[in-house]
């Protein structure tokens, strides 16, 4: 995610420094704040890395002080490490953890249905929230991507999943070529037919332009648009005819408290450029 080609998420070089200065925050910071708001107090959260990890830290320090973080390597944390993490295996993430267990320990909680929300990055997402991180294509060439990691597990089994990614036509496509992590498949009823848990599936897609949510039919719609972004820009950047909510709102920008946490943990904007 972040600085590399962005196939695992966000590469937000698209707005000028002057714009950022005027606005007071980067789009990554906006996305982190929006992601943090998807975590409710006391929830069990499968945290992932990069922006979602920051979102978890922000949530804990603001409205969700009792949220608990799970990591795929088996680490469970109630108290955030307080240091910027590059991977979940970084020593600060292990010291003082609630538990350093096995991967199966956290995956068991996931499969029991105890995980309220899981965050995922994606190279490609389609109108029903299916994700592709295995084989993508760019300029008509097949690109081998890193793979599922824990994404397929989380997409299948978490009660809600929240995706973070850059919003462009290459990433938001009509139909992913490969379903690494299942969303709503082909629409309502699909997940149940596959045998996936009833209380599971995508809840929100937070992009560099807005936030998408999902209707009862399993199809995505634009729920909020970021400040300064036009609906036209969102529609043009989406690879299918994106529906727009009747009550479209503007995404709430990050508050001072939220920004404060982010800038304390990531002062050099390693993840939040």
């Amino acid at each position: 995610m972040g600085r590399a080609e962005g196939e695992h998420g966000v590469n937000v070089a698209s707005h000028s420094e002057a714009e950022v200065a005027a606005r007071g925050y980067t789009f990554s910071e906006l996305m982190v704040a929006a992601a943090a708001r998807e975590i409710r107090d006391g929830e069990l959260v499968f945290v992932g890395m990069r922006l979602p990890l920051l979102a978890f830290l922000v949530a804990r320090r603001t409205h969700a002080p009792r949220a608990i973080g799970l990591f795929e390597n088996g680490v469970i944390r109630e108290t955030p490490s307080g240091e910027l993490l590059y991977t979940m295996g970084d020593p600060p993430n292990l010291r003082g953890a609630t538990q350093c267990g096995q991967m199966l320990d956290v995956m068991g909680l996931l499969q029991q249905g105890r995980v309220d929300v899981g965050f995922l990055g994606a190279a490609e997402i389609d109108r029903f929230g299916n994700l592709n991180t295995t084989w993508g294509h760019r300029d008509k060439e097949m690109q081998r991507l890193p793979g599922s990691g824990g994404a397929c597990d989380i997409a299948c089994l978490a009660q809600r999943t929240v995706m973070l990614l850059t919003h462009d036509r290459g990433r938001l496509t009509e139909r992913v070529g490969h379903i690494t992590s299942p969303g709503y498949g082909a629409g309502n009823g699909w997940r149940r037919k596959q045998g996936l848990p009833i209380a599971s599936g995508p809840s929100a897609v937070i992009t560099t332009l807005g936030v998408l949510r999902f209707g009862a039919d399993g199809e995505a719609f634009l729920a909020s648009v970021h400040p300064g972004v036009s609906v036209e820009e969102v529609l043009e950047s989406t690879g299918w005819t994106l529906r727009v909510a009747d009550e479209l709102i503007e995404t709430l920008p990050p508050g001072d408290d939220e920004l404060g946490v982010m800038r304390e943990i990531d002062p050099n904007h390693f993840w939040t450029r």
Binding site: Y86, G89, P91, L94, G147, L196
Partner: protein, 307 residues
Amino acid sequence: MAAESKLMTMREAISKHVSAGSMVLMGAQLEQMIPFAAGHELIRQGRRDLTLAGPISDILFDQLIGAGCVSRVMAAWVGNVSAGVGYCFRRAAERGIPRRIETVDYSNFTMALALHAAALGVPFMPTYATLGSDLLKKNGNLREFSSPVSEEKLVAVRALRPDVTILHVQRADAQGNAHIWGSLGVAVDGARAARKVIVVAEEIVEPEVIASDPNRTVVPGFLVAAVVHEPGGAHPSPVQGYYGRDHKFFEQYHEQSRRLEDFEEWLTHWILHAPDRRTYMNQLGVARTESLAVKEHALTAPADFGY
């Protein structure tokens, strides 16, 4: 009568216990304690046709693939965790450079279950994970089935039995009894699933030290074929209590592996021309290694096994 020591050099351990065509599990603890020194020795010994297995092994798999050692990868994620893509992996998978590789795609959970099945001695473990995904469609080791005890569909994850699991540990005795602390990942099952285990330890200690804390013993010595004393053997990945993660090294590898010519230069400098890990550490330099050393020790509360 004292048991025979299993201590040997990395060169001997790899030479004796990892043959061409083997399936090798490395990176059982995900981003922590990855046995890079062992992987580099495999490269130096020109081992071919390996199947690499593991959930996420950061850039180690990318390096082995780039060096031409690998014909198959069974993993959940292959790349450079903090930087993004694994360029050698991509070149091999897309264009067969330096050679074609077969990719068998798992998720983290299904990889863990595959090893768990083998560790339990059963042919498969059931799960709901991967239902509806193309992973299930394309990976022959994942098979949908109807539960015999409930009205529902599940996925059977076939047991995975590596020929060798290479584990990096903080300390071990000469028999291979080993303590690990930190992120366990799939290390416990990974050790039991394999036909044999090579333990690579930061420190070799007396048996009494290991025996003083049997809850921390992750690998019992009778599963271990070889023990290698290799300080710094997991660099650039971190070892809790010994050294931190060398983030810059991962970033530099990302830049230097993007183009094939640059990768070949990197490979020569860090692996082919460095005959062992000690040389590699000298190459890194004192300043670098000191910057990674433990800044503040954090000992655990003692546990009293007395009675």
